[in-house]
Symmetry: C2
């Protein structure tokens, strides 16, 4: 088997066999296949796509390139949730405690923020003392005791995906549905889960700008799950404005705390409850989705989800008092209001620009090795559809340094579109793929 022949066949749109996909992934992982051949293969894949069989083979190979957890000693169906990334998207910190409070075991392996989107680990680490670098034994023990644990992707999980992703990042081959789907699924399947709820974001603040593309990605991931016997459901949800009001790590943790105490934003609460309900249903803690929705709401309303989150924060070394006393969280030193020069209706809030502005102020990373500032970010004062007067505050920027502030402020100002007519209402949950 010669690598160049496999590249040629992919270029011509032919289907590779399972053995051929294995040859490529294993050869690349061991270093026998050089970067320059793999990047040509990735670009050919971008153009030629992959069949379902190839997609499953690629996912399994990447999954099996490292450690595959077995959590069978912990009873019950293990259910994780994954989002393709948005702005202000802190649903994991809400739906996971709700599901865990309902008895679902949630082994949550999360990522860090990169570019304009935030990361669950960064948000959690803004809580003083919170540690995400647990050993796998600690992870297992906490799952057994609390039913929920947050950790980062370890080097042992899907190393082939790690190498491939780094290569895709510098060779213009990120935006390929089979490559995205296999990357996400290989990591998730290596966690030893029995079911997965996906939140595929679509809109100006998401990776996928069009619903048809988001649907293809969702279908690809649900298909991989089906062929590997993991139940997967995907919600396709709107990301044409930030989710909730808060963008930025500590600011988002504050909003999570409010939401778990029943005073969060409507959109964030609604989506978190729906994701939790799907986790509860797939986790077999309810016979029907409607029952699961009721359970999710109960666990939010009776405070048990909040109590679960606090227990998890404590177990992972964090100061859970910070969830009630926000002065214990990192706080910004400066604040700037962004006002609208004219009256009208907010017709759009370009979420990517808000995310980028937040990143510029220090909340996010341009490169993986960059440090972040947990205190800074943006709090929206209005959402799409609201009426504003001239001079109304649209949002507030929270900063700790002047660097990048002007540019961020301009970006945020331009991110709000004000129009004379009331915009049509948009659905938050656009469709379900399962």
């Amino acid at each position: 088997m010669r690598t160049v022949d496999l590249i040629l066949r992919k270029r011509r749109g032919e289907e590779l066999s399972v053995e051929e996909i294995q040859f490529l992934v294993n050869g690349y992982t061991t270093g026998e296949i050089p970067d320059y051949q793999m990047s040509a293969f990735l670009m050919a894949t971008f153009f030629s796509g992959m069949t379902d069989r190839e997609l499953s083979a690629l996912t399994e190979c990447m999954m099996n390139s490292g450690e595959v957890l077995t959590l069978s000693e912990i009873p019950g169906t293990k259910v994780d949730k994954h989002s393709t990334g948005g702005v202000g998207d802190k649903t994991s910190l809400i739906c996971a405690p709700i599901a865990a409070a309902a008895g679902v075991v949630v082994p949550m392996v999360s990522g860090r923020g990169l570019g304009h989107t935030g990361g669950t680990l960064d948000k959690l680490e803004s809580i003083p003392g919170f540690r995400t670098d647990l050993t796998l034994d600690q992870f297992r023990a906490q799952l057994a005791s609390l039913g929920l644990c947050f950790i980062g992707q370890t080097d042992e999980i899907a190393p082939a995906d790690k190498r491939l992703y780094a290569l895709r990042d510098v060779t213009g081959t990120v935006e390929s549905i089979p490559l995205i789907a296999s990357s996400i699924m290989s990591k998730k399947l290596a966690e030893g889960i029995g079911a997965l709820v996906l939140d595929v974001k679509v809109g100006n603040g998401a990776f996928m700008k069009k619903q048809v593309e988001a649907r293809k990605l969702a279908q690809a991931m649900v298909g991989i799950g089906r062929r590997l016997d993991i139940r997967v459901q995907a919600l396709i949800t709107d990301m044409n404005q930030p989710l909730g009001f808060a963008i930025g790590n500590a600011l988002e943790v504050m909003e999570v705390s409010q939401t778990l105490q029943k005073s969060g934003p409507a959109d964030l609460t609604r989506l978190s409850l729906e994701l939790a309900a799907r986790m509860i249903h797939l986790g077999k803690k309810a016979d029907s989705l409607d029952d699961a929705r009721k359970i999710a709401e109960d666990k939010l309303m009776d405070g048990s989800a909040y109590a679960k989150f606090k227990a998890v924060v404590e177990a992972q070394g964090g100061n859970s008092q910070a969830l009630d006393r926000f002065d214990l969280l990192p706080n910004a030193t400066g604040m700037r209001e962004i006002v609208t020069p004219r009256a009208g209706f907010v017709s759009a809030i370009m979420a990517e620009d808000i995310g980028r502005a937040s990143q510029m102020m220090g909340a996010g990373r341009a490169r993986k090795e960059d440090p972040i500032d947990p205190a800074v970010g943006v709090i929206l004062e209005v959402k799409v559809g609201e009426k504003v007067d001239a001079g109304s505050v649209l949002c507030r920027l929270y900063y700790t340094a002047e660097e990048g502030l002007e540019e961020a402020a301009e970006l945020v100002e331009d991110a709000f579109r004000i129009s004379g007519a009331r915009p049509e209402e948009r659905e938050l949950i656009l469709e379900v793929v399962s």
Copy 2:
């Protein structure tokens, strides 16, 4: 400027600016852009193509990556000829002496054989003593004195193309019309020529299998020439059977000698004359193409082309007596006849298979660094359209070692298609692009 952004733009089908193409080629040549980014760019180019402006910029950049010869001290228009490669294609050794005998200055920079196609340098080196590794000063001096010199591509000419070609070879990105066209033209334009005649082969023994593809390649190269002020004409010619009867280095030199002595195969003679006529016309040694055709024929018939070839062989250290006494050329030690089991008409001779069989016996290389055996090869006894009886000899294999012989014999046997009906006659020169 970031390389990954240029890859992305090419992937999306956008046009890159001249500066951006320069950034890529120069960055790759200096090693600042790594192989893995360039191979992704090449694969994106395979799928997205290139505009005329990009194509010219790429060609010029590669040309300017090394030495660009000026031959202005030698009077007259310098005209070269290039073939995209076929089986049994020894026209360069015939048309160049004809054109030179007519007064055209022919600086012929040739290549070596790779895969199933042969190379002009390998053929010439089968003449005892013949040297192709002249210095540029020796090259210039011989052009001034004889009007014809054969050398190989030096390391100084278009080094960017050399690096890119090596990368394309292992990343499945060879078969791209803009990449092929710019590769050929960058080398040819660096030779200091004023005009170029191209022989674009099409058919089962050629790189291009379809006439529409060959036409696109021809148009791309003619277009590059026009934009860079070099007159380029391309013949698209049939390669659905080997050209002439001989395949293999010394065997082809024998056929060249016969052809220059007016007893060569009809197809080889005809095509060589047409190529020579085009060189004479572009070299301004005739007012019309018809006049040029007459001059070419005269130079062949009066023996001056043969005399020119002998003088060049002597000047480059070769023993020109070997052209009259074939026992002085490398000779095979064994011969095997391939016969047809049934009567009929020869409807096809798969040229690529004949070329590969010849390569297997040692006439060609699988890898650049492989040695070759100048003596071995194939001599056809029949051509397409001829009637054969059962038991007739189709061709003879000339070999020096048993290794690979059986496999080669089988391949050659299968290369001949015998049918009951006389096949339609095929044109040799299919079209002219200028």
